[in-house]
Amino acid sequence: MAFIEIRNLLKHFKKVVAVNHISIDVQEGEMLTLLGPSGCGKTTTLRCIAGLERPEGGDILIDGKSMIAEGFVQPSKRGIGMVFQNYAVWPHMKVVNNVTYGLKMQGMSKKVVREKAQQVLELVDLVGLEERYPGQLSGGQQQRVALARALVRNPKVLLLDEPLSNLDAKLREKMRFEIKSLVKRMGITSVYVTHDQAEAMVISDRIAVMEAGNVVQIGSAEEIYQRPANRFVADFIGTTNFIPGKVLEIDRQTETIYVRTDFSEKMLCKAGTLASITPGAAVFASIRPEDVDILAERPQAGENVFKGTIVHKAYLGNFLYFFVSINGTMVRAQVAHYLPQEEGQDIFLSLNPRKCMILL
């Protein structure tokens, strides 16, 4: 039995359906990320788990107990910890009082409260700042206060709503690892919300990609990246080339699909086959830029080799990024080695068939 079970959750705001009958399981000790663009319903789902929104249908079970169907359970009674996007650290209380607020309200003894506060402040590396007011702290420090406050009561579930989006890039990168190791150490089941896919891939055990209120795919970072379920996921995670074409023939034995595109009679695609494809269907052949190889001359052998013209070449430090036009179709390629060819010159692209996926 999963630790958090979301069953058929339905939430709408006036006429807009924000969460459309979704079901997700979060295993105990797992960090699951809800990933998607603005408006996809990820924050709403998180707030439903917290009890800050009342869904119109469905149920959420935490540790086997229903939070909705058998009577709505208030957020204060769910045993959760939550980190808000704007931290929501109370400005009129010192850091230590922010952190110990929940404990004191429970009626714990002063000694126990002080001990726990000390522990958690060490955990988030805020020792020495207890007596400060939030107004005197930096953004990153405030965020750690919010984290400490959420963790101090040893919650069953930790919810994080885009906690890093207000930090600068370097700090964000550092905090990702810190949060992940902290949560793993404490073994808390967590649900994380973000629109930043790099963040999701670093921090999660599994990712649930959402679009317009629906869960489109759930899987590990690698699954989602290498085997995206549809065009939306392929486009949202990393960058992908989408080459429109029509299915020519399907060879089920070698698991190969031949596609006719604007620039080629026959293009081989091997990965990501869909059982429902029929010849003549309009599809997208998609391949990631790093799987497109660039060659100065046409190679002796190899499938999917096409000649094109360099439209734009960009130097990005650790790799070169090319926009190549093959008879009008723009293909992006990313190579980690040096190439002398400049814009306007001809070049050969090799699209690795094994990495070429058919998506609808």
Binding site: L52, W90, P91, G102
Partner: protein
């Protein structure tokens, strides 16, 4: 929607129904009573709209409103512009001064100006002594005086609204106009002013409605032919003549309808026209100009003149309060503390009543206003927008309407009017919207995630309110508290209908003293006392407010 929210909302609606809807409906019903037959009919209204006298008073009042609005706008625009745009010395003091007419009771101004501008007032006497004029100029006894006094009283509303409007305008709008070639006055008329319309309208409505509720100023100036004044006379004086009483009620009802209609139209108009652009967001200061020498001098002179006129009120009243037999002299000659002795010895009850009633009303206001603000801002119960609307609508009702309706509604059926509690209740009903608006906007500024964070820490809604919401709301709430108390303290239009022997407040005392033709000095002394008390209250509250702020926000604030 949680059950707790629903019960709270229901409770609030019940109170509103009892204290607002019931009395006002009673008022409306009474206006349809025919004195001769004892039955119901529209006869009173027919008479009202066919009688030339009543129609004349109605037209007079409308005309007065228009004049007052135009005057205060004309004189207010430069002030608002100066406050919002120029770097001048003394802006803070001046802003405080410009607020003075609001916190001073309206009738205080009338007395002061009669003493100073009257036929044998200071100004006329000085001019005659200097030989500039032979006979006194009539400065204030007439429509012009009435407009002047009422415009001055309402000036702060216009100035503050416009100043806020000017400050809020994204400088980019005006800069774009200048780039297109429209500069100076042209730009002001075509871009700046129109962009202020929403904020201006907010203040303009309050100003326009004032002549419909100010029954006392015209009476003191000997101008009777205005709707609120004849309503008062009909109801308060002719209480044995049922017909006239009902006509008075009709006058109040008509005034109320006009006020409410205008209020709603203005609201609709503002909401309909969207004046915000897709601008990046401005500095909180808005555009600031460094004016040239000539403009600067003119500005200072204008500010000085306005300050002088406003300060005349407390100064003249003060002089009068501390003197006796100040007649036919430009300045007092005989100084004494007798006036105050008389007040304190013969009617200390006035002061006590004023404080007690205002304080009790304030308690009602807080106990009721905070939960109401919570329901409107934080919950999703059905009807909360209607609640907001009804309470805001109460702002539009003339004070007389509240007073008269309470007198009628709580006389026979629910004999609440026989208990002194009716006074604070009426004060509370009348002034509640002021407090609620402050509580409302404070609540809006309180980020809901601060409350949600408390809930996910295991703390229920009620304790969250006291430990998190309230400390963070205090700042805005305090302002509402002060305004409420001051307004309740100087309330007369409501109280005048409900008081009984022993329940008189200071404002009523002033009115009675003037009315019975007693020593002007005593009435002036009372008015002066009110001003002093109001001022001290403001000082105390700002001190307390400051220290609470320090505790709430800590030594370092964002």
């Amino acid at each position: 929607m949680s059950r707790g929210d629903y019960s709270l909302s229901t409770f609030i609606w019940l109170i509103i129904a009892f204290l607002v809807i019931y009395p006002l409906s009673f008022l409306l019903v009474e206006s349809f009573k025919i004195a001769e037959t004892g039955g119901f009919g529209i006869g009173n209204f027919l008479e009202f709209f066919q009688d030339t006298y009543y129609l004349k008073t109605f037209a007079n009042t409308l005309w007065l409103s228009i004049l007052v609005l135009l005057t205060s706008t004309l004189f207010g625009i430069p002030l608002a512009y100066i406050l919002a745009r120029y770097r001048q010395y003394g802006k803070t003091i001046f802003t405080a001064l410009i607020l003075l007419p609001i916190v001073l009771p309206a009738y205080a101004g009338v007395f002061a100006f009669i003493i100073f501008f009257g036929k044998f007032g200071t100004l006329n006497l000085l001019l005659m002594e200097a030989g500039i004029i032979a006979t006194p100029i009539n400065f204030i006894y007439g429509l012009h005086g009435l407009v002047f006094i009422q415009a001055l009283h309402m000036l702060p509303f216009i100035v503050l609204s416009l100043a806020a409007g000017f400050t809020q305008i994204d400088p980019a709008f005006e800069e774009a106009a200048e780039v297109e070639g429209a500069s100076g006055f042209r730009r002001f008329i075509t871009v700046t002013l129109p962009l202020c319309t929403p904020t201006y309208l907010a203040g303009a409505v309050i100003v326009f409605l004032w002549p419909f509720t100010d029954w006392l100023t015209p009476l003191i100036l000997g101008q009777v032919d205005y709707l609120p004044s004849i309503a008062y006379i009909n109801i308060a004086y002719h209480f044995t003549d049922m017909h006239r009483k009902y006509m008075g009620i009709v006058a109040v009802v008509v005034s109320s309808f006009v006020c409410i209609a205008l209020f709603l139209v203005a609201r609709w108009w503002v909401e309909r026209k969207k004046y915000t652009g897709l601008s990046k967001g401005t500095t909180s200061e808005g555009r600031v100009i460094e004016p040239g020498i000539l403009v600067k001098t003119l500005s200072y002179s204008y500010m000085g003149l306005t300050a002088f006129i406003v300060l005349l009120i407390p100064i003249v009243l003060g002089l009068s309060a501390f003197s006796r037999r100040w007649v036919f002299q430009p300045f007092p000659t005989y100084w004494t503390l007798d006036n105050f002795k008389v007040i304190l010895s013969e009617s200390p009850l006035l002061i006590q009543n004023s404080f007690v009633f205002s304080a009790v009303a304030l308690i009602f206001g807080i106990v009721f206003g905070l939960p109401a603000a919570y329901v409107i801002v934080r919950t999703k119960v059905r009807g909360k927008d209607a609640l907001d609307f009804v309470i805001t609508l109460m702002l539009a009702f003339p004070g007389m309407a509240v007073g008269v309706s309470y007198l009628l509604a709580f006389w026979d059926t629910i004999p609440l009017a026989t208990h002194w509690m009716i006074m604070p209740l009426a004060l509370f009903s009348r002034r509640l919207p002021y407090f609620l608006r402050m509580a409302h906007s404070s609540y809006l500024q309180l980020d809901i995630s601060l409350e949600e964070a408390s809930e996910v820490c295991g703390v229920g809604k009620i304790r969250t309110f006291f430990y998190i919401s309230l400390p963070l709301l205090i700042k805005g709430v305090l302002v509402g508290v002060v305004m409420f108390f001051i307004m309740a303290f100087q309330e007369i239009s409501t109280a005048i209908f409900l008081y009984r022997g022993g329940w008189e407040t200071l404002p009523i005392g002033i009115f009675l003293n003037w009315h019975r033709g007693m020593e002007f000095g005593i009435a002036a002394a009372m008015a002066f006392l009110m001003i002093v008390i109001t001022f001290i209250l403001l000082l105390i509250i700002s001190r307390i407010g400051g220290s609470i702020l320090k505790a709430a926000w800590g030594p370092g604030s964002r």
